[in-house]
């Protein structure tokens, strides 16, 4: 388990490490689909906040997407 994150990171970072040579650069005029709200990683802000709150209070793992969200007692 100890090596799982680094292994995962190495696999995930391959496209970046390869200088994106295998990826055809996407041109500005090809980004119409990418501009849709559902293609953003942000999503519905209040919904995500509540989901984080629920999982924080019922599971041991938390975080991953941002920093500085603050804590709570949530027992």
């Amino acid at each position: 388990m100890r090596s799982a994150p680094s292994l995962l990171a190495a696999i995930a970072a391959l496209p970046f490490a390869a200088g994106c040579s295998a990826i055809q650069p996407v041109q500005p005029w090809e980004k119409g689909m990418l501009a849709r709200p559902e293609m953003s990683f942000e999503g519905d802000r209040l919904e995500m906040k509540f989901a984080e709150h629920v999982y924080f209070s019922r599971e041991a793992a938390s975080g991953g997407a941002s920093v500085g969200g603050g804590g709570c007692g949530c027992n």
Partner: protein, 397 residues
Amino acid sequence: MQLNARAPGQAPDPARGKEAPGTAALGTTILAAAFALPGLHTAAHAESAPEQGVISLKYVDYQDRQPGLERTSVRSPSLSVLAPIAGVWAIEGSLVYDDVSGASPRYHTAVSGASRMEDERTAADLKVTRYFPRGSASIGAAYSDENDYRSKAVSLQGSVSSEDKNTTATFGAGVTNDTIDPVNLIVVGERKRTVEWMAGVTQVLSPRDIVQLNFTHAAGRGYFSDPYKYVDNRPRERNQRNVLLRWNHHVDGSGGTSRLAYRHYRDSFGIRAHTFSAEYVQPLSGGWIVTPSARVYSQSAAYFYFDPVYHGIFGPPFPPGYTFADPRPLSADQRLSAFGAHTFGVKVEKRLAADWSVDIKFERYEQRSSWRLFGSGSPGLQPLTARIVQIGVSKRW
């Protein structure tokens, strides 16, 4: 949630609702032309200042239970505002009020002697972002207040994009200071301080694919025990690491978008966790959008969690070999046991005239020891189920 590929309201939203094939082709051509215009071509994937403001209201009703015990009930109205200023600034803020009541086991999932609670929580956060031609910088603050727990956090984040805006690197740092004053006075004025770091990369892979890889590290020092649980003595240090990989993919055939994520978590309590989540956003005709979602979670137990096998003389909640001056870290908290959990949900959204939209979401969550992945779960615990209903309304201006 800083690594947005697109600021809200920034770019056209061309394909909400169904279009006739000819219209779609024309739309694509016009869109292509629009993005080729100077000044507009950065819209899709730079972090750009939002052009529209958004105000959202949401009401959440949460109830969880285990066999024989209605546990926690939360009713929570919230408000969120995003306001663009002068084309290069954005202010985001939210206010949340939680009305919490119910019962919580004092050890494992024991029903008898469960602690009754009644609490209110008020939380607020504010973030100011300055946008630059190839990046952004933001400062944020968050505050949460309960009668026995207060949390204050500040954060800084920055992002830099490549010239073609296909690659964005993001960095962040935050500090959270918590004060814990339980009503049972088991401790007074306890503190917890957490320093967090984040680094991430967002990459456009194709006109239909965008991926993001995030690393976060949190170092916490102070009071981590649960003052309302029996025999709960946790280490005063907790270090947490996450690797989060997310992939959004647009499906041409259906006009929908799949949103997939995997998170690997580990901490110095000895807990390892995997989280897989998936949702599919499907726009339909008439301004309707339907989003089914699923999440699978699994964790191992903390090294100091003990199973519900009790001391031969003292009985529950004391573990075998327990002495009253026991210095060992110990916990019988279900949240630190080994288990798996599933969430299934569906969200229905309706876009209305004049930039209004309404939405409703139903979710069901269930936690079971036997659902742990890659290992066996902790024995002797009851399953926990929750149902969550959210109703929201938004207005853009």
